[in-house]
C-alpha cells in the first residue's frame, strides 16, 4: 500500500528525475513527435521535415513573442498583410490566409473568416514545445495545412507541478511591451490532472514610422498597440480531457489596406472562445479510439468606425473520431473521420456590403472528411502511405495522398516524401467569389541527416513545391475579391548543424529558395524571375546558449536575410538590402533565489531597420518591425 501511495504522490518526481537523463543531443534526436502522423515517431523517422523547438530554447533565447521564435526557422519568413497583421511565407511561398495551420493545445487558431493567424496574440512563456512541419500537412490536418503546420503545446499539469508567475518589460524608443502571466498545474491524488493559465499583455507593434506608398506616414510609436489576454483551462481524468480557452485580442493601427488612415488609429479585435472534450478509449491492446467534440466561436476582424463596420459572429462545431490500430510493434494504422459545421452571422453593426448569397445576413457550410494512413517496415525501410478526402458544401471536393519513406541507421537518417495538399477557401473567400476552387500543392522533399559526433548533428534537404490554382486577394478601390490564379512554386535546399554538449547548445540553419514556374504576376519581381516578392532567397539563422557558471548563460542569436524586393511606391518595386538582425539574452537561473529566472536582453542590437514586406501586390508599404529593444523578464516557480 505504501508503494502505491508513493507512486500517486511521486509521479511527477519520477518524470522530473528521468528528465535529468535526457538532455544530450541523442536524446533530442530521439524525441518522438506525433505531429506528422498522429502516432508517436522519432524525429528522424517521422514522414515530414519537422523542426522541434523546446521550452528551454525559447526561454534561453529571450524570445518576446511567437514571431521571435518562428523567425529562427529559416524556412519561415514574416511579411506584411493588411490591417496591422503579419503573415508567413513558407519556403519562399506566401502562405498567409489558410495555408499554414496553427494549433495551440490542439485548438485551431486560424480564424474562420479569412483563415489568418494573429501571431502577436500568443503567450510564449506558456509554451512547452513547438513542432513545425515545414511542408504539407493536409493528409492529417486538412485544408488549412497546405504548406506548413505549427503545433504548439503549452506546459502540462505534470510539467508545471505547481505555479509559475512571470512578468516582462521591453523598452525601445518608448515602452515597447509589458506583459504578465500566471500558470498553475498539478496532478491531483487519484490521477486527475488540472491546469489553468492566464495571460495579459500590452505591446506596441513598432516604435518606427510607417510611410505608405503615396508618401503619407504616421508614427507607430504610441499609436500601434495590441492587447492580448487569454485564459486556458484544462482537466483530464482517466482518458477524458476537457479544455476551455478564452482569448481576447485587439490591436490598433492606422495603416489599413496600406494607405495611412486620415483620422488616426482604429481598433480591430479578434475575440475567440474554444471548448473541447476528448476521450482516449483503449478498446483492446491493439486498438485505441479517440472521439473528440469541439466548439469554437468568435468575432474576428471586428471593427466599427468611420471607415468600416465589420461585425460578424462565427461558430464552428466539430465532431471527430480517430482510430489507432497497432497489430504489431512495426505496423500502425491511423484512420478517422471529421465533420464540422461553420456558421457566420452579421451582427447589429454589420455593413450591408458584406452580405452573403441572396442578400442574407448569414451563411452556413459543412465539411466531411475521412483519412487513413498506414506505417509499415518494408525491406528495412519505414513506409508511410495515406490519404485524406474532404467534401465541403461550398466548394469542390479534395483528395490528397502522401507517400513517405524513411530510414534510420545508427548515425545516418534519410527521408523521402511525396505529398499533395490543399487550401480550403475561407468563408469570406466564398462570399466574394462563390466559384472559387481549393488551391492545390504538390510537394517533394528529401532529407539526409548525419550524427557526426555525439554532440553534433548535420542535416541537408532539398525540396520542390508546386502550387496550382493559388488563391490570392485582389483589390481595387471599389472591389475586393479572391481569385484562383495559374500556378506558382519554389525549389530549394537547406542545411543545418546542431550542437549540444551539456548545457551548451548552438544551431546554425540555412535555406535557399528560388521561384519555380511562377505565373502569378502579383508575386513576381520584374527582371528577377527567380525571386518572389517580399521574401529573401537566402536566410541564415543562428542561436546558441553558452553557460558561464553560477547559473548565468549567454544566449546570442542572429538572422541573416538576403536582398528582398517590395513595393515602395505605387507600381514601384524596390530592392531592400540584405541585413543581419542580432540579439543577445543573458539568463540567470536560481540566483539569487531558487526557482527564480531572470532574463535581460537586447533585441536587434544594431538597429537593422528590418521591415515586413508585402509578398504580393496588395497596396501595402513595408511595415516597420520594432527597433532595438531592451527586454527584461522575471519568472518564479513555486
Amino acid at each position: 500500500m505504501g508503494a502505491r501511495l508513493y507512486a500517486a504522490e511521486g509521479a511527477s518526481d519520477e518524470a522530473a528525475f528521468f528528465s535529468l537523463e535526457r538532455s544530450t543531443l541523442e536524446d533530442i534526436l530521439n524525441t518522438k513527435t506525433s505531429v506528422s502522423t498522429l502516432n508517436a515517431v522519432p524525429l528522424r523517422e517521422t514522414p515530414g521535415l519537422v523542426t522541434l523547438i523546446t521550452r528551454e530554447e525559447i526561454q534561453s533565447s529571450g524570445a518576446r513573442n511567437l514571431i521571435d521564435v518562428l523567425n529562427a526557422v529559416p524556412e519561415l519568413e514574416f511579411g506584411a498583410d493588411g490591417w496591422g497583421n503579419v503573415g508567413l511565407a513558407v519556403r519562399g511561398n506566401w502562405a498567409n490566409e489558410g495555408k499554414v495551420l496553427l494549433l495551440w493545445d490542439g485548438q485551431v487558431y486560424n480564424e474562420p473568416l479569412y483563415t489568418n493567424i494573429q501571431f502577436d496574440r500568443f503567450p510564449v512563456d506558456q509554451i512547452e514545445q513547438i513542432e513545425v512541419i515545414k511542408g504539407p500537412g493536409s493528409v492529417i490536418y486538412g485544408g488549412y495545412a497546405e504548406l506548413a503546420v505549427i503545433n504548439i503545446k503549452t506546459r502540462s499539469p505534470e510539467n508545471l507541478n505547481g505555479s509559475e508567475a512571470y512578468a516582462a518589460y521591453g523598452q525601445g524608443r518608448a515602452k515597447a511591451r509589458a506583459y504578465a502571466g500566471y500558470s498553475f498545474g498539478k496532478v491531483l491524488d487519484g490521477g486527475t490532472e488540472v491546469s489553468a493559465k492566464a495571460f495579459w499583455g500590452e505591446v506596441q507593434r513598432s516604435d518606427r514610422r510607417y510611410t505608405d506608398l503615396n508618401g503619407a506616414s504616421y508614427n507607430m510609436n504610441g499609436a500601434s498597440y495590441m492587447r492580448p489576454k487569454s485564459l486556458n483551462l484544462y482537466a483530464e481524468k482517466k482518458g477524458l480531457s476537457l479544455r476551455f480557452i478564452l482569448d481576447d485580442y485587439f490591436l490598433r493601427e492606422a495603416d489599413g489596406y496600406g494607405d495611412v488612415l486620415s483620422s488616426g488609429t482604429e481598433r480591430l479585435s479578434f475575440n475567440m472562445t474554444s471548448a473541447e472534450a476528448k476521450y482516449n478509449w483503449q478498446v483492446s491492446e491493439t486498438l485505441r479510439l479517440e472521439p473528440r467534440v469541439n466548439y469554437s466561436g468568435g468575432k474576428p476582424w471586428e471593427e466599427n468606425n468611420q471607415y468600416d463596420a465589420y461585425d460578424k459572429y462565427t461558430r464552428r462545431y466539430t465532431g471527430a473520431l480517430t482510430a489507432f490500430y497497432e497489430p504489431g510493434p512495426k505496423t500502425c494504422f491511423v484512420a478517422g473521420g471529421e465533420y464540422y459545421r461553420d456558421s457566420v452571422r452579421i451582427g447589429t453593426e454589420g455593413n450591408p456590403y458584406y452580405l452573403y448569397a441572396d442578400g442574407s445576413n448569414d451563411a452556413r457550410y459543412n465539411n466531411l472528411a475521412f483519412f487513413g494512413q498506414g506505417t509499415f517496415d518494408l525491406f528495412a525501410l519505414k513506409l508511410t502511405a495515406g490519404g485524406r478526402y474532404d467534401k465541403h458544401s461550398g466548394q469542390d471536393a479534395s483528395f490528397v495522398p502522401r507517400l513517405a519513406v524513411t530510414r534510420l541507421w545508427d548515425r545516418f537518417s534519410l527521408k523521402a516524401i511525396y505529398s499533395k495538399s490543399f487550401r480550403e477557401p475561407s468563408i469570406e473567400n466564398m462570399r466574394v467569389n462563390p466559384g472559387i476552387k481549393p488551391e492545390k500543392t504538390t510537394s517533394a522533399e528529401f532529407e539526409a541527416g548525419y550524427k557526426a559526433y555525439e554532440s553534433l548533428f548535420l542535416s541537408g534537404n532539398v525540396f520542390q513545391t508546386e502550387i496550382t490554382d493559388p488563391i490570392l486577394y485582389y483589390s481595387d478601390p471599389l472591389l475586393e475579391t479572391y481569385n484562383n490564379y495559374d500556378r506558382t512554386g519554389t525549389t530549394g535546399f537547406g542545411l543545418g548543424a546542431k550542437f549540444k554538449n551539456k548545457a551548451c547548445h548552438a544551431e546554425l540553419n540555412y535555406v535557399y529558395y528560388a521561384a519555380r514556374g511562377n505565373r502569378v504576376d502579383s508575386y513576381s519581381v520584374p527582371g528577377h524571375g527567380s525571386s518572389l516578392l517580399g521574401v529573401p532567397k537566402h536566410k541564415l539563422t543562428f542561436n546558441a546558449s553558452i553557460p558561464s557558471g553560477s547559473g548565468l548563460s549567454v544566449n546570442p542569436s542572429a538572422i541573416y536575410v538576403s536582398r528582398r524586393y517590395g513595393y515602395a511606391a505605387p507600381g514601384g518595386i524596390k530592392a531592400f538590402n540584405d541585413m543581419v538582425i542580432a540579439n543577445v539574452n543573458l539568463q540567470l537561473k536560481d540566483r539569487p533565489v531558487k526557482h527564480l529566472t531572470l532574463n535581460l536582453g537586447v533585441r536587434d542590437i544594431f538597429k537593422s531597420g528590418y521591415s515586413y514586406l508585402q509578398a504580393y501586390t496588395g497596396g501595402h508599404a513595408p511595415l516597420p518591425a520594432p527597433s532595438r529593444e531592451l527586454f527584461a523578464k522575471a519568472s518564479y516557480e513555486f
Binding site: 519520477e14 522530473a16 486498438l287 490500430y325 497497432e326 487513413g372 551539456k502 531558487k594
Partner: protein
C-alpha cells in the same frame, strides 16, 4: 453524402475496424509512450525477440487479455496498475516503488536501477582508494529494501556504510553538515524524491565546498555536478526485463529483485578536481562518459 463518399470512408476506416488477432502472452505497459519509457521498451523488445502487446497507460487503463501471463511495466504508474493476482509482473524504471503483495499468486520481479552492489563498491574503491566511511542519503521508502544488503556489501570492501534518511527536503542541508566529520564521501541511490534540481544543487555545492566526493547512480546527476555515478543504462534495464520475462515464460522461479548485468560509469572531471580527486587511468578507460 453520395455512395462514392461512403465507399471511400469505408476503405479508409477498414484498418481500424480489424479486430485484434494473434494475442501474445506478454503485455508491455508503459507509463508514457515517450522518453525513457519508450527507449527502455525498445531495448526490451529487441532482447525479448518476439512481438509483445504494448499499452500506453496515459491512453487508458491497461487491460491484460485472457491469454496474458506476464505484464512488463515500464515506469511507476505502470507498475502500480491493478493487475489480476495470477499474472507475473516484471517492473522497471520505478525507482521509488517496491511492490509487496503476498496475496498475489504470480511472481513480482523488480528490475533495479542499480548494478549489483559489489560492482558499485569495486568502482568507488578504484576512484577513491582511501574511502572508509560512506554515508548513503535517501528518501524513497523503496531504499529500505536494499539498505541492509548495501551496507553489508560495503563492509566486504572495507567501507563502513551508514544510511541517513532525509525526512524532508528542508532537512537536507542540516543533515549534510551534521555528518560532515563522519564521512569520506556520500552516495545517493536513484531516488526521485531526493534528487530534485534544488537538492542536486545543494548536494553539489556541499561536495564541492567541503572536498567530499559525491557519488550517484545516474548519468544525469553526474552531469549536474556529482563526482561519479555507477549505474545502469536504460538499454541494460530493458535487456534485464527481457531476461526476466523470458525466464518467467520458461517457468523459472526468480528473485524479487534483479540487477542488470552491465555497468554504466560516468565521471565528472570538474567535480573530481574540486574534491581533490584524480581519476586513475583504469577508471578513465572504464567510463562510458566523462563530463569535462
Amino acid at each position: 453524402m453520395n455512395s462514392r463518399t461512403l465507399k471511400l470512408a469505408a476503405l479508409l476506416l477498414l484498418p481500424a475496424c480489424v479486430s485484434a488477432a494473434g494475442q501474445e502472452e506478454t503485455l508491455a505497459v508503459l507509463a508514457s509512450g515517450s522518453g525513457v519509457y519508450q527507449d527502455t521498451f525498445a531495448a526490451f523488445r529487441t532482447a525479448y525477440g518476439r512481438d509483445v502487446r504494448l499499452q500506453d497507460i496515459s491512453a487508458g487503463k491497461p487491460k491484460p487479455g485472457p491469454e496474458t501471463r506476464t505484464v512488463v511495466a515500464f515506469g511507476g504508474k505502470a507498475a502500480i496498475g491493478d493487475y489480476p493476482p495470477g499474472l507475473n509482473i516484471v517492473y522497471c524504471l520505478s525507482p521509488g516503488i517496491f511492490l509487496k503483495n503476498p496475496a498475489r499468486q504470480g511472481q513480482t520481479i523488480k528490475i533495479a536501477m542499480l548494478p549489483a552492489f559489489d560492482e558499485v563498491f569495486y568502482r568507488l574503491k578504484l576512484i577513491q582508494p582511501g574511502l572508509k566511511r560512506l554515508k548513503a542519503f535517501w528518501m524513497v521508502p523503496d531504499f529500505i529494501g536494499y539498505r541492509d544488503r548495501f551496507i553489508a556489501e560495503g563492509a566486504a570492501f572495507g567501507i563502513e556504510v551508514s544510511a541517513v534518511k532525509v525526512a524532508t527536503a528542508e532537512a537536507l542541508p542540516e543533515l549534510l553538515r551534521k555528518n560532515l566529520a563522519e564521512m569520506d564521501a556520500f552516495w545517493v541511490p536513484p531516488d526521485p524524491l531526493l534528487l530534485t534540481p534544488e537538492n542536486i544543487l545543494i548536494l553539489k555545492e556541499f561536495s564541492w565546498g567541503n572536498d567530499i566526493p559525491f557519488y550517484a547512480s545516474n548519468r544525469g546527476i553526474t552531469r549536474e555536478g556529482a563526482t561519479a555515478s555507477v549505474g545502469v543504462s536504460f538499454n541494460a534495464i530493458g535487456i534485464a526485463a527481457a531476461k526476466a520475462a523470458a525466464g518467467l515464460a520458461a517457468g523459472e522461479k526468480l528473485p524479487t529483485i534483479l540487477f542488470p548485468d552491465s555497468v554504466e560509469l560516468t565521471l565528472n572531471a570538474a567535480a573530481a578536481k574540486n574534491c581533490g580527486l584524480t581519476f586513475p587511468k583504469e577508471i578513465l578507460n572504464d567510463a562510458e562518459q566523462i563530463f569535462p
